[in-house]
Symmetry: C2
DNA sequence: TCAAAAGTGTTAAAAGTACACCCATGA
DNA sequence: TCATGGGTGTACTTTTAACACTTTTGA
């Protein structure tokens, strides 16, 4: 096996990083740096893998190089490899600027993650002009097949979220039951019954009441809870 | 985009085809053709993709070329791309016989399927010396990282099987409730309560009673059912 | 008559679902 | 005093789980 860091011209990784801000579900996008035109093109952070790194390593490296974000658990969820996934002429222009072999047919391995937005402040570098959080309900057109990738990532997110009963780590250290409920409602995109939701969450004992309360709110202050370890 | 059929030296597909024979769960393996040695090496059917075909197409083509099997619904489940997934010296020997660039680092996209064994009689060709069904509980050592791929395919199979309540197509046209139960028990690898299982299956109405019965069995003959369309 | 799998119901516990009113706070 | 989200209980339905004996057939 070679130990150099040659670029593998046929395989890339793309990262769908979802961010939650107590209000909306967002996804991390980049605005591509396009030397020759003023038009704005958006995409997921992603790039070719190196020939001596694992896919997981590549995903973390690429995300960091483009957006500055690290320490995020990225989970592989699917390979996308239609021969014509780069069919738009504008995408080809972009590739010509940044790749040795822009015509090469590239298979991409897609990763996704879910984080608390306020903990991760993206900063653009490499071929990203900007990096920003975008409301998933208001996605612009994306380059390549990235719209499809985001939509399949969302499906996967919802599926895993229900199954694993996880997601508390997306909340502040102390949080109200209302905030958890909102988190679930936003990710699952449906309304839940307050009493039933509380019953269930408390029964599972993933969460523990503190004796603190909210302050400064325009309504009855809610009790604060924390993760139960 | 190129329209030729150049081989993509960096991406392959591997197929985990599970076969059910009313008794056991099996997986389709090949014995590799090794010109220089008499040693026997086993592997999943798999090969490099062509540069102008989709991943799904590649999976179906490769399976057919190696084993003769076609008309099987193959579902992508994961990419495997550790840089050292080809670490065994014997695997390298095999690659030297069949690949232009045997040292190339290859990422593989793994597919799985579940079929009724008696409907698919594999016939070896290409670099397969033999193709055969192997009991999943008695797997030999496999080449590359194929043992890992099979074990993750099994997990995925069980997960999807429960969720989708499918699998009746693995039974003969007319079947008994006992046969369905056995199918579930073999795939899920656990014992189920007969009365509860029947109640559930019948409630779902995926299955319809006929007025035929088994004949020639050494016990009370069971009523035959068929798929309810 | 024996062995083997078919066939059959009840009960209890747990989980899910629908639903409406009062409370504490800051403006 | 008002608007806002917090907080609470009950009744009903559905789902799951545990459990044992009789029946029919061919050998």
């Amino acid at each position: 096996m070679s130990l150099n860091t040659a670029i593998n011209p046929n395989v890339s990784v793309d990262c769908v990083v979802f961010g939650f801000d107590n209000e909306k579900l967002n996804v991390l996008l980049i605005q591509q740096k396009l030397p020759s035109t003023k038009e704005q093109r958006y995409a997921l952070p992603g790039d070719l893998i190196l020939d001596n790194e694992s896919l997981d390593t590549a995903a973390n490296r690429v995300l960091k190089e483009i957006s500055g974000l690290s320490g995020i658990f990225l989970k592989q969820f699917r390979a996308f490899g239609d021969p014509d996934r780069v069919s738009n002429i504008k995408d080809l222009e972009f590739l010509k600027s940044y790749r040795k072999n822009p015509q090469a047919r590239v298979i991409t391995i897609a990763y996704f993650a879910l984080v608390r937005m306020e903990n991760f402040k993206p900063e653009a570098s490499s071929f990203a002009e900007k990096v920003f959080w975008q409301d998933v309900t208001e996605l612009p057109d994306l380059s390549f097949d990235h719209t499809k990738i985001v939509s399949q990532a969302l499906e996967k997110l919802r599926h895993d979220f229900i199954r694993d009963k996880t997601g508390f780590e997306l909340l502040p250290e102390r949080f109200t039951l209302g905030q958890i409920q909102k988190l679930y409602e936003i990710i699952l995109n449906e309304n839940l019954d307050k009493r039933n939701f509380r019953k269930k969450i408390l029964k599972e004992e993933l969460v523990k009441a503190t004796n603190q309360k909210q302050t400064g709110v325009l309504h009855k202050p809610a009790r604060l809870y924390k993760i139960n370890n």
